[in-house]
């Protein structure tokens, strides 16, 4: 056993460098890379990367509808996430031709040129869910412009609490999290049933059956971390806020503010009435039909709503 584990203390911590210097080193690094291997999306700093499933709102296995480029309209799946750039690899997504030196070839490879999947960002696709028609009982896809997370439930597939994924402004439609690929246990794994088996039954809630010196035997008593990190607990801002009682009665402006917040929360998406639509439509039609300037016509075509 060797003790040459590289300590991060002595390396350059890129996160701590000023942005211009960091960019310099990153460019320096890029020069040594094969151009084809460079990431399609820029690498993000640590604090801007998505971490939890709630942050991502998407998971591997999600069905998505491609919204841009030549593949627009294709239904495909998310195969992999790229945490460094908050990007996604899609199953039948866009690819790029890259040239690979022979040193990096696969066993089955017989050409320098190969198709390599491109990393796409969040705006490239929409998440797909399925809804059932109540009359015909036929299932059809629904694409979500945006997703909101509501409530929480125990997910048996992921073995953790997860929020429900709902379509924004149509929160009654939920898109379930995809089923992850099953993990195959190897020979040395403890079976799940064995792990969940209860072996300790306390006899009293006042007296602990654990020996008093157990803690000292678990962690080195003279280590710095065992004292500061685990023994001390300070009251922090949120704790103090929770423990102090509010001034009663609540001031009127705060009460109003709460009411307004509540109203905003329950606010429903508005809709234009056909009467107003017709009124605006006539006005726009009058204006556009009169216009015969080709430049203005081209502009209108470019920004018009039916073009998107």
């Amino acid at each position: 056993m060797t003790w040459t584990a590289a300590s991060k203390r002595f390396g350059v911590n890129m996160e701590r460098l000023p942005p211009n210097l960091r960019r310099f080193f990153e460019n320096f690094q890029l020069r040594g890379q094969i151009p084809a291997m460079r990431s399609d999306l820029p690498t993000l700093p640590e604090n801007k990367r998505l971490k939890t499933m709630e942050d991502w709102k998407f998971a591997v296995g999600d069905q998505v509808l491609i919204m841009k480029g030549k593949l627009k309209g294709t239904i495909t799946k998310i195969v992999k996430l790229q945490p460094a750039s908050n990007g996604f690899y899609l199953e039948d997504g866009p690819t790029k031709k890259i040239v690979i030196p022979k040193e990096y070839w696969n066993q089955t490879q017989d050409s320098h040129v190969m198709d390599y999947p491109k990393v796409v960002d969040r705006s490239y696709f929409k998440l797909l869910g399925t809804v059932e028609d109540p009359n015909t009982k036929q299932k059809k896809y629904i694409a979500a412009n945006d997703i909101v997370l509501r409530g929480k439930y125990w997910d048996e597939n992921y073995k953790k609490m997860l929020p429900y994924r709902c379509i924004k402004n149509k929160e009654d439609i939920r898109i379930p999290w995809p089923k992850p690929e099953p993990i195959e246990d190897d020979a040395y794994c403890t079976p799940e049933a064995k792990v969940m088996e209860r072996t300790y039954f306390p006899t009293s809630i006042v007296l602990s059956e654990l020996p008093a010196d157990l803690k000292d035997s678990l962690r080195p008593p003279l280590s710095k971390s065992s004292k500061s990190k685990y023994d001390k607990y300070y009251l922090r801002g949120p704790d103090i806020k929770r423990l102090t009682k509010p001034n009663m009665p609540i001031p009127e402006h705060l009460r109003k503010l709460r009411e307004e917040k509540e109203l905003l929360k329950n606010k429903k998406a508005l809709k234009l009435t056909p009467e107003i639509e017709d009124f605006i439509g006539k006005k726009v039609a009058d204006h556009l039909n009169k216009n015969d300037n080709p430049h203005i016509k081209a502009y209108i075509e470019k920004v018009s709503g039916d073009n998107i």
Partner: protein, 159 residues
């Protein structure tokens, strides 16, 4: 090919449709032309409004830049007059051109220095020419005065 009302409405950009969804056009709803309460039914989203409880003045829901963008887009689709009144009396395009304050320099050009002092210099010269004899007498004394008088006396005429 002329557009029908329905086709024309679909041509409207999402930005405008969203605005009219939130704030119906003028004949269907009237908007205040001055600052009111934020809770007022006719509160104008382009103007700063006052909160009834805290008395704080809230910034307009649409900033100056965003309301300008919205107006310019609406103008190109001929629906600019359906928007509420803009903040600070903003006007654009033809209206702005017609109501533009004429440039000070164009109305009253400054000119070069010789142009500015031309009139006064000419006047000064004319005055000096008119008083030429007196000035010369001052400078050269009575001898010149007498010469002038003699010249006048000895002037020959045809009669």
């Amino acid at each position: 090919m002329s557009l029908s009302a329905q086709q024309a409405f679909k041509k409207l950009p999402k930005k405008l449709v969203d605005f009219f969804t939130q704030y119906p056009p003028i004949p269907f709803k009237q908007y205040a032309t001055e600052t009111t309460l934020t809770t007022a039914d006719d509160a104008n989203p382009f103007l700063p409004n006052k909160h009834p409880v805290t008395n704080a003045i809230h910034d307009p829901i649409y900033s100056m830049r965003r309301q300008s963008d919205l107006f310019k887009l609406a103008y190109k689709f001929g629906v600019a007059d359906l928007l509420p009144k803009l903040n600070n009396g903003k006007v654009f395009y033809e209206e702005r051109y017609n109501n533009a304050k004429p440039l000070k320099g164009a109305v009253n050009p400054k000119g070069h220095k010789w142009e500015r002092t031309y009139e006064s210099r000419k006047q000064k010269i004319a005055e000096a020419v008119a008083r030429a004899d007196e000035i010369i007498i001052e400078a050269r004394g009575n001898k010149y005065k007498r010469r002038l008088e003699r010249k006048e006396k000895e002037q020959k005429t045809w009669y």
